[in-house]
């Protein structure tokens, strides 16, 4: 039988933190599991992402069917922005072949937390091919 390799203290600490990270990740996924739509508010949550560069934060939001003139981006506080966008057409569950839910949606809505300090007053937006891009200097 081969001798069992002795692990260094660094390997043990690294493994401990990896295990902890996985646990936190799983917990986060469980807590954030929710539908991407809200029937009461008639809103859908768009796909969105955030990229943090040394000099600015770029947020992108996928807004198919959104009307460019009806897109609003509002700072809620120093670290949070709220995005809402009216759609050109009403979307119903039936449009996706779903008959066990009832509801229709006219607006995209989401709030995003910016995890680094930014200068909200310098925020710039552009909308191209249904994709909203928000750039906020740090």
């Amino acid at each position: 039988m081969a001798a069992r390799k002795k692990r260094s203290i660094f390997e043990i600490v690294e493994q401990y933190f990896e295990g902890m990270e996985e646990g936190v990740e799983r917990l986060g996924e469980t807590l954030t599991e929710k539908p991407s739509w809200n029937c009461r508010a008639c809103t859908m949550e768009p796909l969105h992402n955030i990229m943090i560069a040394p000099d600015e934060v770029t947020v992108t939001v996928d807004l198919p069917f959104a009307e460019e003139k009806a897109i609003q981006v509002k700072p809620i506080d120093v670290n949070t922005i709220e995005i809402s966008a009216k759609m050109r057409r009403t979307i119903r569950f039936e449009d996706f072949g779903i008959t066990h839910y009832r509801g229709e949606f006219q607006t995209f809505h989401c709030r995003m937390y910016i995890p680094v300090p930014v200068r909200m007053e310098k925020m710039e937006t552009r909308f191209k091919r249904g994709m909203l891009e928000i750039r906020i200097p740090r």
């Binding site: 991407s36 996928d62 198919p64």
Partner: protein, 248 residues
Amino acid sequence: MSGEVKIIEKERISTNAVMLFGFPDVGLVGVIAAAHLISELKLDEVAFLDSELLPPLIVLHEGLPHSSIRVFGNNEVLLAVSETPVSADVIYPIMNALIDWGKSKNVKMMISLSGIPIEQRQDAEKLEVFAAASSPEMLKMVQDKGVEVLKEGYMVGPQAIMLQRCANMGTPALTLLAQCFLNYPDPEAATEVLKGLEKVTGIKVDTSKLLEKGEEIRLRARDVMKRTQQELSKMKKAQEYDIPVYVS
């Protein structure tokens, strides 16, 4: 491990077909392209994958249960498609079982359809398609047909497993990758990968509907895209951006 994954055949499976793979990945390029191929070529479900390695999930269509990983086909094409992202923990046995099954059907070639993310995708006027191959002969074939080769880099996900296993088994295989969004469903990229497929295999479909329905597809695919992002992050997909150390 492959023994834990069963491919159940529903119909007689043709031999000498081209086997395609459309699995959730960046931009959902493969899944969108696969859904379009099934619709345009009117492919029937010919087999499905059964395994306790998969999560306790079925897909309901018209009130009836279906496996989330199915094979559609006709005499010329076999198309393996997954409607949900496959977890990094089980991707090897799932892909190996599908590849071994395809090999047992004497498929003449395996091709996975996928994407390669680019920055500033919304500003890209033309999306390029790249190919990686299982052998120098396959590489020459795609180059002769006008598809650019992805020369250096890393590949992460189902297509990586497919290409490596086929290279080991001596089965001709390709991965076609269209430039795309990383985290957003990309029907335009799916259109381009289908054009690449046509160049390589002659399998032709009208892609105009894919572009016409682009916004609807993006809306419909949000939830699958979100779950795919989570799995891709576990697979360390961002490694595809890394510059490799060249070891000859």
